[in-house]
């Protein structure tokens, strides 16, 4: 979810912009997502991707994963601002952990016209070990997971095949410290 704003964005935010993935544990209560999204838009930060799900039903906790762009100073400020929100337990920049794992899932629907295209698609699907969800006469749906980078590459490769129609959905990255 890349956003463009009619308001000028702080120039500093892009000086040495770096992609960061933030992991935020919150009380699962009404308005929490709006609080977080509002914090980003109100202070001119970027949300590149966002993922929210309950992770502990008993304790009523959700984990929110946010992919954002900004120089290090801005990222620290975002973390500090997130931690000020009342329902937030913790906010962590995964890059600051000694070890963390990141993954994303993507569903791709491809419409093709001929045998040759089908063959090329199959070939890439095989290389990237994507799972076939559904296959009809001229439509195939794949599920691919892994790092966002890997998914990007897969999609780039598909893009080299002429004449096919691609529709897709991505979960945005999720991650965990290990």
């Amino acid at each position: 979810m890349s956003s463009t704003s009619v308001y000028p964005t702080p120039i500093n935010a892009f000086k040495e912009s770096k992609r960061s993935v933030l992991s935020v544990i919150v009380d699962n209560e009404p308005g929490i997502l709006a609080r977080i999204v509002g914090l980003f838009s109100g202070r001119g930060y970027n949300i590149e991707a966002l993922n929210v799900t309950v992770v502990d039903v008993k304790k009523n906790l959700s984990r929110i994963t946010i992919e954002t762009l900004g120089e290090e100073k801005v990222i620290s400020q975002i973390i500090a601002q997130l931690e000020k929100l009342v329902p937030v337990h913790s906010a962590t920049n995964l890059a600051n952990l000694s070890e963390s794992y990141e993954a994303e899932i993507c569903l791709v629907k491809i419409e093709f016209e001929n045998q040759e295209q089908d063959q090329k698609i199959l070939n890439y699907a095989d290389i990237y070990r994507s799972r076939t969800v559904q296959k009809r006469q001229n439509i195939v749906v794949y599920e691919i997971s892994g790092t966002s980078e890997r998914i990007n590459k897969f999609l780039d490769d598909l893009g080299t095949i002429g004449g096919i129609k691609v529709e897709l959905v991505r979960s945005g990255p999720i991650g965990l410290g290990i």
């Binding site: 709006a34 609080r35 400020q77 931690e83 929100l85 937030v88 337990h89």
Partner: protein
């Protein structure tokens, strides 16, 4: 079934307020809060102050909170009642003032239907509160109210709003008292309770090494409580380090003390700004490096080691990178610094920074607050100086509106104690001062409460005179009447070729008659010979007074660091010309 241990939501609210030792609430009724007003009707621990517009309620709650150190509380109805308090909530958020706003909401089953006087209250107020709630279940009400007070007052204080649908005000449940509630720590954000010893030792060693240290003290010191200011005074006495305060820090250290350089920043003292620019050690006590203080960032105190004490972690390194910081409460930290000095017998006696003080005294010789009072037209600076001289023996609280008069008040009125100076800094809200004076007078019925006002600002919440009259609050509204939005006019003069676009305040009312029509008292000083008598008369009257002080219309507020300029590029008087390059850059800033 009628269970004796069950109460309506409205009664639970009142019980919780009593439990929280709230004795005053500012409010305005409407359909969605009628059950609460009904509960207020039959009790006597809580004094309800009926304002004349909800904006008045929120600023009064702010004034009450600032002048008493307690949480200010207000009650408004749904829809327009709430939208009228948005400015005040934002003001309280910017200036870290603890208030709790109770708002009525349409009944739960109507939420989302565009019902009469429905608005998305939590949505609208989310960015302008520290936290807010929509309480849909009456069993959660007690806990929510107690948590709201805790959040409003702890850590970096701020406004909290509780939206209560009308059906929840009628619904019944048990009441849970404050002592039976265990707060969840992660939600309270109270800051660290343990002192960072390493920070303290580092600071002491840097103080010993430094040649040109300075204390830079802000509103955080005020919010940490009276003891913070006591500890600060001790520390300054021990170390002989000069101290400057922000607009909100005024009063945390006695303004007339010789160690005080006064306020810094855009309209701060020359010596304070130069000292900040040239210092080699900056000790920031609860200030947030606001743009009104720092001026141009790349030239802000370039050669100093910076220490920062602030309970709010997001204030650290936000605008200015610091070398050392702690998020522990200021009182605790200052106490530790003082006791560390005592227990290690550290003597700063030989290190009296005499060169540094010599330099500062050179800067002081500029007499940056000097003005020429002629023998006819009253200079606004002189009006404030006289007001100070004639009231300083009294127990006085000063609120202000926003504009030149506010800056003159900050420059010429000296405060010796914290919580005596109540002004809108972060948001700069015109119309703040008079309702804030109402709140301050409610909290301090025996004290003298003065709103130093501009005529334009005063018009913004003028209706609250009626509140002051109704509750016999003898507040004094001291208007520096220059017939201009003076601060706007000043910027137009300096930055827009003296094109005074829409800054003349035409069609002003006769403030004396206006006061009389409200059953308040009006007094007026037209020239210098009437000034002292008018002030004395104003003070002597035990009723709300509007004092219309006619001042020089063209006076500008100096010194001034124009937007985008650096501390050492201050303008001292109208004869100083700004560097044209800065002027172009400054124009686009605020």
């Amino acid at each position: 079934m009628n269970n004796e241990n069950e109460f309506t939501g409205a009664d639970i609210l009142l019980k919780a307020l009593k439990d929280q030792e709230v004795d005053t609430i500012f409010g305005y009724p409407g359909g969605a809060v009628l059950p609460i007003y009904d509960a207020i009707f039959g009790q006597n621990f809580l004094k309800h102050v009926l304002v004349r517009q909800e904006a008045g309620a929120v600023h009064a709650a702010e004034g009450y909170a600032r002048s008493s150190g307690k949480v200010g509380v207000l009650l408004v109805t749904s829809g327009p009642g709430v939208t009228n308090v948005v400015t005040g909530l934002t003001d309280a958020l910017m200036d870290s003032i603890p208030i709790v706003c109770i708002s009525g909401q349409v009944p739960s089953h109507l939420i989302g239907t565009d019902a009469f006087q429905e608005c998305d209250t939590t949505g609208i107020t989310r960015p302008c509160t520290k936290h807010n709630y929509l309480v849909k279940d009456v069993t959660k009400l007690s806990e929510t109210i107690h948590e709201a007070f805790e959040i409003a007052s702890s850590g970096r204080p701020g406004p909290v709003l509780i939206d209560i649908p009308k059906d929840v005000q009628f619904a019944k449940s048990k009441y849970i008292s404050k002592k039976d509630i265990r707060f969840r720590e992660h939600r309270i954000k109270a800051g660290s309770k343990s002192v960072d010893k390493n920070f303290v030792e580092k600071l002491i060693s840097h103080i010993k090494k430094s040649e040109r240290p300075i204390f830079y003290v802000g509103g955080g010191c005020l919010n940490s409580g009276h003891q913070a200011s006591q500890e600060l005074i001790k520390l300054v006495k021990k170390t002989n380090i000069p101290i400057t305060t922000t607009l909100h820090g005024l009063g945390c250290f006695p303004g007339e003390d010789k160690s005080s350089l006064g306020m810094l920043g855009m309209h701060g003292n020359y010596e304070a700004n130069l000292a900040m620019n040239k210092c080699d050690l900056m000790i920031n006590v609860g200030a947030r490096f606001d743009d009104r203080v720092t001026g141009r960032l790349d030239a802000f105190s370039p050669d100093s080691i910076k220490f920062h004490i602030d309970i709010d972690q997001s204030s650290i390194n936000k605008n200015v990178k610091v070398d050392f910081h702690t998020n522990t409460d200021i009182t605790l930290t200052l106490k530790e610094i003082n006791s560390f000095i005592d227990s290690n017998n550290i003597d700063f006696g030989d290190k009296d920074y005499s060169n540094w003080w010599g330099q500062i005294n050179e800067w002081r010789k500029k007499e940056c607050l000097h003005y020429e009072q002629g023998d006819e037209v009253i200079k606004p600076q002189h009006a404030i100086s006289r007001l100070y001289e004639l009231t300083k023996q009294k127990d006085t609280f000063v609120t202000t509106e926003v504009g030149q008069h506010q800056m003159w008040a900050a420059q010429y009125y000296k405060f010796s104690k914290p919580n005596r100076w109540i002004t809108s800094g972060g948001l700069g809200t015109m119309g703040f001062g008079m309702p804030a004076a109402v709140g301050a007078q409610m909290a301090n019925p025996e004290s003298l409460v003065i709103d130093i006002a501009g005529e334009a600002s005063f018009l913004m919440n003028i209706q609250e005179i009626a509140t002051a009259v109704q509750y016999k609050l003898p507040i004094k509204i001291f208007i520096l009447n220059n017939e201009y939005m003076g601060m706007v006019r000043q910027w137009q003069e300096l930055l827009h070729g003296s094109r005074y676009s829409e800054s003349y305040v035409d069609a002003l009312p006769d403030f004396k008659k206006l006061a009389e029509s409200f059953n308040a008292v009006g007094v007026r000083a037209k020239n210098i010979s009437e000034l002292d008598d008018t002030i004395n008369e104003m003070i002597s009257i035990d009723r709300p007074v509007i004092a219309d002080i006619w001042v020089d219309k063209k006076e500008n507020c100096f010194p001034m660091i124009p937007s985008g300029a650096a501390h050492h590029e201050m303008l001292l008087s109208k004869y100083d010309k700004e560097n044209p390059e800065n002027q172009e850059k400054g124009k686009v800033l605020v």
